[in-house]
């Protein structure tokens, strides 16, 4: 009798304990990101570290493979009310998200949870892209990069060039000498690289892509690419291509420009600083190379380049607990130790001034394989952002970027005249922008 009573009491206690256990469980929240491969592994490491560092929240990080897919999946989830708390959105998706009212500004998230963040510490070139036109930061900068140009220093030495070129005229000269010296591929070029060859070119030459500060000041911006210096640049690219100094290296030919450079086949290519780590990993032995800021046209003063990569957006419609967790996560990734770790294991650059200074003081940038990455920061902060270099805030920009890729392909492969091609590009871009404007008739640009 007492045995059964004891047994009964024991099972009741156990059941009660199990029943109350869930109230001690952590708050889980979701983070969807658009990186894959090596970078995805690093994010998984970071999430594990965050979960291990505290016991209140658990972050669940899911890779969506690439930025496009992540944005599509986030939109679909939002419409079904199953959205993640944090989503990594790339630059071209910014305006759609801003007008959708589907986000909570990061300043609000941090303020509500009493987290202290020195917002002025972020590089102005990075913060301006993700801020309102009045300068209020809406999303958390995370993986930032900018466009650079990579040189094979052995090839440069062979043609007798001291240092690294800073002007496109010098690049042309060097490329011609390389071709004469027997290099088959002086400059590797991928038309899919509209970001570095067109957008960043426009930024550092202070050229507008569209009126109204590239769309920051209104949805009625108009494309003005055909009226700017890019006409001159695209004409130059076409001439170099015809001469054989610029060689096509893309996914369709079987080898992309970065792989060709790392294999020593091409001597110069332009890409993101985030590729610095990949080139280091893929480079054949005895490949001597360096990275530099994008060259300038003669007689033009350099302005800052625009930030690439993506930022973290907090989406609406989640619980207070989940927002607290998101705030804790943002705080975690902003710590100097974490920021340095992220810039070490990936090619991305630190997003805050203090983070950068700390890494410089530690001697991070003094030796290979990290030497040269500080030039990305130099490029991003060369001048304070001007009206044309705050960023690009144009609707359906992914379509416009794809139109530029088509335009460049048309000019190079179909011999379309450059001015005509760029004027047509402006017309098509305007069609896309007007359609976007009609879709958001009553929206106000933040």
């Amino acid at each position: 009798m007492t045995r059964t009573r004891l047994l009964g009491a024991a099972t009741t206690l156990a059941a009660l304990a199990l029943a109350t256990a869930p109230t001690l469980a952590q708050t889980k929240f979701d983070f969807w990101y658009g990186l894959s491969g090596d970078l995805s592994e690093r994010i998984q490491d970071m999430c594990k570290d965050f979960n291990a560092s505290q016991a209140d929240y658990e972050i669940v990080c899911t890779s969506q493979n690439d930025y496009d897919t992540n944005l599509q999946n986030t939109i679909a989830a939002y419409r079904a009310n199953k959205q993640p708390t944090i989503s990594q959105i790339f630059d071209a998706g910014t305006l759609d998200l801003m007008l959708s009212q589907a986000y909570v500004p990061v300043k609000e998230v941090m303020a509500k949870n009493d987290e202290q963040v020195s917002w002025d510490d972020y590089f102005s070139g990075i913060a301006s892209y993700y801020s309102t036109s009045k300068g209020e930061l809406l999303s958390m900068p995370f993986n930032s990069s900018t466009a650079m140009i990579y040189y094979n220093t052995d090839a440069l030495a062979k043609v007798g060039f001291e240092g690294l070129p800073t002007k496109w005229s010098e690049v042309e000269d060097v490329a011609r000498k390389m071709k004469a010296a027997g290099y088959d591929c002086p400059i590797g070029f991928d038309p899919a690289g509209a970001w570095q060859w067109f957008e960043q070119f426009s930024a550092i030459h202070n050229q507008p892509i569209a009126t109204k500060g590239n769309g920051f000041d209104g949805l009625d911006a108009e494309m003005v690419v055909g009226k700017g210096k890019f006409v001159q640049q695209l004409t130059w690219i076409k001439a170099m291509y015809d001469e054989g100094l610029i060689v096509l290296k893309s996914k369709d030919t079987g080898e992309v420009d970065q792989d060709a450079f790392a294999a020593g086949k091409c001597q110069i290519y332009s890409g993101s600083i985030a590729g610095h780590g990949s080139v280091t990993a893929k480079a054949i032995p005895d490949l001597h190379w360096d990275v530099a800021m994008l060259p300038m046209l003669d007689g033009v003063e350099r302005t800052n380049s625009m930030v690439g990569g993506a930022s973290l957006w907090t989406l609406k419609g989640k619980s207070e607990e989940e927002y607290k967790g998101a705030a804790a996560f943002y705080e975690f990734i902003s710590t100097p130790k974490q920021a340095e770790w992220w810039s070490t294991v990936t090619g991305y650059i630190p997003v805050t001034n203090t983070g950068f200074e700390a890494m410089k003081a530690n001697g991070f940038y003094d030796a290979a394989p990290y030497k040269g990455r500080e030039r990305a920061i130099e490029s991003l902060t060369f001048t304070p952002p001007t009206e044309n270099t705050r960023g690009i805030r144009l609707g359906n920009y992914a379509s416009i970027r794809a139109e530029m890729v088509k335009t460049m392909q048309n000019v190079l492969f179909n011999n379309e005249p450059v001015q005509q091609a760029l004027d047509e590009f402006d017309v098509k871009g305007n069609e896309i922008l007007r359609r976007f404007q009609a879709t958001y008739k009553d929206a106000v640009l933040p």
Partner: protein, 294 residues
Amino acid sequence: MERRAFYRNSTLPWLLIAPQLLLVLVFFYWPTSQAMYWAFTLEQPWGGGNTWVGWENFLSIFHDREYWGTVVRSAFYAICTSALSMAMALTLAVFVDRSLKGTKLFQSVYVWPYAIAAPAAGVAFRFIFAPEAGLIGALNEAWPGVWNPAINGYQALAMVIICHSWLGIGYNFIFFLAALQMIPRSISEAGAMDGARPVRRMFDLQLPLIAPTVFFLIIINLISSFTDSFGLIDTMTDGGPYGSTEVMVYKIYFDGFKGFDYSGAAAQSIVLMLLVIALTFIQFRWVEKRVHYN
């Protein structure tokens, strides 16, 4: 006399087709009605409102010169892949039908391409046709620059057409073989006795007798080349270079998912749906009537 199935219990047939009806309702009618709604409005990607614009979406795509280019390209693609695929499948079926030694093996092998998913085939063919790294690189060694689908739009289109035709051979082959085997042996033997060679027998005897199958396959191939081409084009060329392999279904995907122009993409998909319905209607109304079954 027509044969029909009779059910005494009037709810049983409905129960039997209920699962299929449910699938069709959820995966076809619901999205289609949603697309209809979006096609007549301007839908914001993140939800949160849309404005009624009537026929404007349709008018703007019909006024777009690039859209008509896509339509013409899709039609060209459809005709070429159907012709190529059916011609190759018919040739193989005719050979297998002759029941020579070893044809039993080929009978099973020729269907296998149909089981391959289009993206998988796309990746494999992209490697084969890559101008520098692929097998066809040997051609480029002999005549430098002769093959480069990354630059030459026509070559890119040819590459995708060849790949799509290859995938369709298995399906067409099975139908052709079945149709050929339904022709009584006595007809071919009579022709052989009269001195007709195999080729003449094929053109004068077999082809007219399998005409119903040919017409059925034409329609099926045309419809599938409008809709199933997406997997191939997305993995092989991304619609490039400069849009020369952009067919209607790819443009819908790009405008909708990458460009976030949900309403424009919805309007285009309604147009594509009507086109496919029209093709099916033509087949049922006219083609089947004019074809004789002996």
